[in-house]
């Protein structure tokens, strides 16, 4: 697989695939969904706007009119997440009216798909520079509200109706892999909390956060600068007491799964040439990406085939991947991935800053959070050549993107 073809920007008849780089990424602090959450009463589009504006401020050498596309993902595309949110967010952020935008949806992998779709456009030569991100205000848009599943799902047994509930699919995954016990998932969840707390302590999370002012009735304006969901200090004993809401005597709890959250992310992608031209930093180079479908009833296994496909495209082996950012919708889903590839539960290559179990998972926004964190880890660890961002997706899918570290000594030296 050769993506690394000598690239020139003219989109001539002899079309060449161009290198795509991840320039920068930011996100809002994540909040807990619901009336008491930090973003209760706020609009989802405003969260996206703050991310876009901060991206622009952080990259002052980028003229706003050079942005060719704004792709913003949201799972529920109504209300404050409706009206083609990529376009509305661009206008509300004060980008020139000449900058187009669109909305995109692949449930949890919305932002990730926004990145891969626009990256493909860059590689093709349709864009030089794009903004891609996602948002989910699950307080304003509880999961599944307004959805109208086709009755054929049931009548023709296309999908078990229970599979529309993600918690059920996680329990199903435990059934499939009896070796993954509740003890293992709880232990994994505790480590996720610990790793996030350590990353906060080390100042590894804060640089990618956009502060968001919020106002609550009767208490005035405040400034949200840190994530709300984390519960540092959580122990396995704490988690053992939690009930299993999806199945009596089940294994999936609020403690070993991501919560219901509000938040937004946005990233800046560019062709390698445009980044060089404008003096934009290169934090990662896109190597390969793949999406794959699995049985909806065990949607959490999705990252496995997606990763195999992406590795195949990249001509790489799982052993070549030095860092994993895997979304933690459920601990069981992460462990099923690790078991498949023979990676230890405590492998230091995996989710160094913790994961969604601690930080939260505002559905369509999460993909870019994984990328931000991988980019920072690349910077911290030049010994790593390749990293991976991967996540499972409702209705049975997985998504994987493989990235190359520009800080590595062999960066760009041979084809990958």
């Amino acid at each position: 697989m050769s993506l690394h073809i000598g690239t020139t920007s003219p989109r001539s008849a002899s079309r060449a695939v161009r290198d795509v780089v991840f320039v920068d990424g930011v996100r809002t602090p994540f909040g807990r969904a619901g009336d008491k959450g930090i973003y209760a009463g706020m609009r989802a589009d405003d969260l996206v706007v703050k991310c876009i504006r901060d991206l622009m401020r952080r990259n002052p050498s980028l003229p706003a009119e050079r942005i060719d596309e704004v792709a913003i993902a949201a799972t529920t595309q109504t209300g404050d997440q409706g009206l083609t949110i990529g376009r509305t967010a661009a206008l509300l952020a004060g980008l020139p009216r000449t900058v187009p935008g669109f909305a995109i949806d692949r449930m949890c992998a919305g932002a990730m798909t926004a990145v891969t779709t626009t990256a493909s456009g860059i590689a093709f030569g349709a864009y030089d520079i794009v903004i891609a991100g996602g948002v989910e205000h699950m307080g304003n848009h509880p999961m599944g509200v307004g959805a109208d599943p086709n009755p054929r799902f049931v009548s023709e047994r296309i999908v078990d109706p229970a599979a529309l509930n993600m918690g059920n699919t996680a329990e199903n995954l435990h059934d499939r892999f009896p070796a993954i016990t509740r003890d293992r998932t709880d232990a994994y969840a505790v480590r996720s909390q610990q790793k996030l707390a350590q990353a906060y302590e080390a100042g590894q999370i804060q640089p990618g956060l956009v502060p968001v002012a919020g106002r609550k009735p009767g208490s005035g304006w405040t400034l949200n600068t840190v994530d709300e969901p984390p519960r540092p200090g959580t122990t396995v004993e704490d988690l053992a007491t939690l009930r299993t809401p999806f199945r009596a005597h089940g294994r999936v709890t609020a403690g070993n799964a991501a919560g219901l959250n509000d938040g937004a992310t946005a990233a800046l992608l560019a062709s390698a040439d445009a980044a060089a031209e404008l003096g934009l930093p290169v934090r990662m180079r896109l190597v390969a990406y793949a999406f794959a479908g699995v049985e909806p009833e065990v949607m959490g296994i999705g990252p496995v085939p997606a990763t195999e496909k992406a590795l195949r495209q990249a001509g790489l082996d799982i052993a070549d991947i030095g860092l994993f950012e895997i979304n933690e919708a459920f601990a069981v889903q992460v462990l099923s991935f690790l078991d498949h590839f023979g990676i230890d539960d405590e492998d230091p290559r995996v989710n160094r800053y913790g994961g969604a179990i601690a930080v939260g998972h505002p559905l369509a926004s999460s993909g870019v959070r994984l990328m931000n964190q991988l980019a920072r880890q690349f910077e911290e660890d030049p010994s790593v050549r390749y990293g991976m961002t991967t996540m499972c997706i409702g209705l049975g899918m997985g998504a994987t993107v493989i990235w190359e570290n520009p800080h590595h000594e062999h960066y760009g030296q041979d084809a990958a």
Binding site: G94, A213, G218, W221, T222, L223
Partner: protein, 708 residues
């Protein structure tokens, strides 16, 4: 706690909607420590502005006291104030200030503001104001008291309108503002803007003047203000940039200061004839403040505020502004339920003269429906349509219209020599020569082509609407729609109900008026309606004393204490002597000798003289010899005092008659008409509060228009 001395004020206004001071600690970036952020919030939605009443100020002051103690303990490194969305805080609650009925309480209220605001300027740690929206009067003075300010480019309504309302920016504004932006710009903000239709600034203009140190866009205004505050607190470039910018914008010396005061005084004289006390009181404070300490100025400001709060001019302005312009003007007395209104999708204008063309432009621009003009020949029609198109081009040139909007508006306006074009119109207004027989003929011709429901309106200023409708098949469709010249600028519309006018026709007229962005007042079908009748009575008195032998200067300046926008003779010249004379004759015909028709004025008209006064090359105005030679005058001159009193009494008499005839529902409508239609000053309350105050209503009618 020092705010206990204000306990007397606590129960002053039981209805006060308190704006709370909510505090949140914010950890600033860049290691700048903790900022205590006060949000001024009344817990109501953005249609209910936050205001400053006594309880609000006491809570604000006590909050600041508490924060000052925390600052002293080293718990916080900065304090900032901002507001709920769209408002920093809109200013003093006027209905509160109005109810301060003793000088003692007024002084206490003034001192309360100073005590609270002075705390903000001296917290022991730097203080900031984040001007996120409306900041008027006491609202802006909160910000001025802080050590640093940012403003949102989305903010609107920033200013010190006290001189307009009858007060002074006496919570430190008059002292602090000139020191920030220089005396000349301070006069602009404190005098020129308030006295020019109460103009205010937007965020960008406030920043440009130096009222704020930094400008941020609304999308993340508070976040960026906090980042900026952190940078200022940590010293370095941001703090240095503020210091340099302030030094540049507030560059002045004694000469500049005195010059600004003098320019302000000239402006006040030209605009108000110094008829109301507040504007010159502002300038007195500004002038004295040059050499005073802030504490000394504060004492003078409190004295001025407590004086002015007791003045009738202040109370009349609050009446005019709150009760009339903001309330009655928006909900006209006697307007039928708007649900009765009919849709208007096409408008006809009979006539293509200047008035008709102005109407066509207004209808097309505001209603965005097709408007068709007719006149007796193609040349006149072309001229009328040409006028409208030329006006649209002017607006396009001044960027008040986009090219697309200009194209659309032009396309809406057409003309014809045949009234057949009215056949599908819903509303036809005539603006032809002011002659009953002509108007009746026009209506007869229009009725022959239009649908039975089409409304016929007349822009007559003095003729009987009922008579105009009398011979029609559907007299109930006729309504008076009396605009004032220039149509685009004057906000008043007298909507005339004739005895047979249908409720749905009247409802349509009011809905239409709103669509045209005019303030409609319902008047009955009486000669000259309201504004012209009152102006006519005034003109009659002034021309009468002149004809009797009073010299022009004495006669024309006798009403100076009212502070009218223009003297009577100058206004007559502007209207045009023949037009004025025509109105006066019709009033005389209707009401008899109490409306004087000046034979001297007739002589001037016949001689082609445009007005009594003529401007000389040096700018002064005189009555030229050749004009005087035309005039025959009596030998019983009056003093200015006599003229003033005689005019006051005449106005009280005429208004008393109008009210007993039922021309309007209440004296409030008279006042609203005079403010909106003649530009009479708010410090007169329009006119009836003034007539009560000077005793004219008591003298003439034996009672006042308003309860004391």
């Amino acid at each position: 706690m020092s705010f206990e001395r204000y306990d007397e004020l606590v129960g002053l206004v039981p209805t006060e909607v308190v704006t709370h001071s909510y505090v949140q600690d914010i950890a600033l970036p860049e290691g700048a420590g903790v900022l205590a952020l006060i949000t001024l919030d009344n817990d109501l939605d953005s249609t209910k502005p936050t205001t400053l009443g006594p309880n609000t100020l006491i809570e604000f002051g006590r909050t600041l006291e508490g924060l000052k103690e925390r600052a002293a303990r080293g718990e916080i490194s900065a304090v900032a104030v901002t507001g709920k969305p769209y408002f920093l805080v809109a200013g003093a609650d006027l209905s509160t200030v109005k109810s301060v009925r003793s000088e003692h309480l007024g002084r206490l209220m003034a001192e309360l503001g100073h005590e609270a605001y002075d705390l903000l300027s001296d917290m022991g740690v730097p203080s900031f104001a984040f001007i996120n929206g409306v900041a008027l009067g006491g609202g802006l003075e909160v910000a001025l008291a802080a050590n640093y300010r940012t403003v949102s480019s989305g903010a609107n309504g920033i200013g010190l309108p006290e001189a307009f309302i009858g007060l002074v920016p006496g919570w430190g504004g008059v002292y602090r503002l000139p020191r920030l932006i220089g005396p000349a710009n301070a006069v602009k903000v404190m005098i020129e803007n308030p006295l020019s239709n109460n103009r205010s600034l937007d965020g960008s203009a406030a920043y440009e003047l130096g009222i704020a140190d930094a400008l941020f866009e609304p999308a993340d205004y508070l976040e960026q203000s906090l980042v900026w505050a952190a940078r200022v607190l940590t010293g370095g470039e941001a703090a240095e940039a503020v210091a340099q910018r302030r030094a540049r914008l507030a560059r002045y010396d004694d000469v500049a200061w005195a010059g600004a005061v003098a320019a302000g005084r000239a402006f006040v004289e030209a605009k108000t004839s110094n008829a109301a006390p507040a504007p010159s009181r502002v300038l007195d404070l500004l002038e004295a403040g040059r050499t005073l300490s802030q504490k000394e100025s504060a004492a003078a400001e409190c004295a001025a505020l407590s004086d002015l709060m007791q003045t009738p001019e202040f109370h009349a302005t609050v009446y005019a502004f709150l009760d009339l312009v903001q309330k009655r003007g928006k909900r006209p007395a006697g307007a039928p339920d708007r649900k009765l209104a009919r849709p208007v999708t096409k408008v006809g204008v009979v006539g293509a003269g200047l008035m008709a063309s102005q109407l066509a432009l207004l209808f097309a621009r505001q209603l965005k429906v097709p408007v068709v003009l007719t006149d007796i020949d193609q040349a006149r029609v072309d001229k009328g349509v040409g006028y409208v198109h030329a006006e649209i081009d002017k607006m396009l040139g001044r960027k008040r219209l986009s090219q697309d909007a200009a194209n659309r508006t032009k396309a809406l306006v057409s003309g014809s020599v045949s009234k057949e074009v009215f056949s599908d119109a819903d509303f036809v207004i005539e603006a032809v020569f002011e002659e009953m027989s002509v108007k009746k003929q026009v209506f007869k011709e229009v009725e022959a082509v239009v649908s039975p429901e089409c409304i016929l309106a007349t822009n007559t200023s003095s003729l009987s609407v009922a008579e105009m409708a009398a011979d029609l098949q559907h007299p109930e469709r006729v309504v008076g729609f009396h605009f004032f010249n220039p149509v685009a600028a004057m906000p008043l519309l007298e909507v005339v109900r004739a005895p047979k006018t249908d409720e749905s026709v009247l409802a349509t007229a009011f809905v239409l008026a709103k669509g045209l962005k005019k303030n409609a007042v319902l008047v009955q079908d009486a000669p000259a309606f309201v504004v012209n009748r009152i102006l006519g009575r005034m003109f009659g008195e002034i021309t009468a004393v002149f004809d009797e032998g009073t010299d022009a200067e004495t006669a024309d300046s006798a009403l100076r204490p009212l502070g009218l926008p223009m003297t009577p003779f100058r206004l007559l010249a502007l209207v045009g002597l023949p037009v004025g004379q025509h109105v006066q004759e019709s009033l005389h015909a209707a009401f008899g000798d109490r409306f004087h028709v000046s034979s001297n004025q007739q002589k001037l008209i016949e001689a082609g003289v445009k007005g009594l006064w003529e401007r000389q090359e040096d700018g002064t105005e005189i009555v030229p010899e050749q004009t005087l030679a035309l005039i025959e005058r009596g030998s019983t001159p009056s003093s200015a005092e006599d003229v003033l009193r005689r005019t006051q009494d005449a106005l009280a008499d005429e208004i008393g008659r109008m009210l007993s005839e039922g021309v309007v529902a209440a004296p409030e409508d008279i006042d609203l008409c005079m403010i909106m239609g003649a530009g009479w000053p708010m410090h007169l309350g329009g006119i009836t509060p003034y007539l009560d105050r000077v005793g004219a209503s008591e003298r003439v009618l034996g009672k006042t228009f308003h309860q004391a």
